[in-house]
């Protein structure tokens, strides 16, 4: 009986201390695999080849007689502890640039620096 009470007390303390806390994760769009991007060959791959590997682009941009396929992915991590809350968002973009003949001229892809972290402290240390 004593053990049961201690166990219940411990569980309730954990429950009480963690109330008001929330950690949430979300994303928008599909993350492209690096292998998929490296399979695209400059000067060789066509629009159809790129679409077959990466799928239809999220956006198509026209720039200086070039066509650019834009793929994007957003990752969100949000943490709330009592009165503090912080949400970090990270974008990963991939651009495939085609020349006037519809052949891949350039692939612009790369990860942004720093990992996306769960944080709840909203200040730059100490209070900024």
């Amino acid at each position: 009986m004593k053990q049961l009470v201690c166990c219940l007390l411990g569980l309730s303390m954990v429950a009480v201390l963690s109330q008001g806390c929330a950690f949430i994760r979300g994303n928008y769009g599909e993350e492209l695999g690096q292998g998929d991007v490296t399979s695209i060959q400059k000067g060789v791959s066509t629009r159809a080849d790129v679409a077959a590997v990466l799928g239809a682009p999220d956006r198509i941009i026209g720039a200086n007689d070039r066509e650019i396929f834009h793929y994007y992915h957003y990752d969100v991590k949000s943490g709330s502890v009592f009165i503090f809350s912080r949400t970090n968002i990270k974008s990963d973009d991939t651009y495939v640039i085609f020349n006037g003949a519809g052949i891949v001229e350039e692939v612009v892809s790369g990860k942004r620096k720093g990992p996306l972290e769960f944080q709840f402290w909203p200040f730059d240390w100490p209070f900024n």
Partner: protein
């Protein structure tokens, strides 16, 4: 008997804390939202106009958030956005004085600032020039919204 009393006290305490669940946000709220990581001038010293190409820039800084067209070249832009928000409920304490009426008096505010790093490329995807715009510091936790 003592055990029963302890369990009762424990239950009362647990119910008290659970009933305060709605108070967990409390009278104060600090919130912050950031998009991506800031890029500093030290991060871009490797860029040499006329020599560095877009692939090298993307390898070091990642792909840009936006590609735009401009006369005779292409512009890429990297964004870092920082949003800050603060709210204080100055009526929160009244619930202890007037239990049946707890008015909310919320004051506060915030803002969003955005840093931009812009790189312009020529027709051969070599860097023509680059520039920063720092505005992320313009966002702040605003305690008093009537200051101006």
């Amino acid at each position: 008997m003592t055990m029963l009393r302890n369990v009762s006290i424990y239950l009362i305490l647990a119910l008290t804390f659970v009933s305060l669940d709605g108070c967990s946000q409390g009278p104060l709220i600090w919130r912050r939202v950031t998009l991506n990581q800031p890029i500093s001038s030290g991060d871009v010293v490797f860029i040499v106009p006329g020599k560095t190409d877009i692939t090298a820039v993307a390898e070091r800084l990642g792909a840009p958030n936006e590609i735009l067209t401009s006369q005779g070249g292409i512009v890429t832009r990297y964004y870092f956005a920082d949003g800050k928000y603060f709210k204080a409920n100055y009526g929160w304490g009244f619930r202890f004085l007037i239990p049946f009426f707890s008015p909310d008096l919320d004051l506060g505010g915030g803002g969003i600032g955005r840093d931009v790093f812009q790189v312009t490329y020529d027709q051969h995807w070599r860097v023509r020039d680059h520039a920063f715009a720092f505005h992320s510091r313009s966002s702040e936790f605003m305690v008093w919204p009537f200051k101006d």
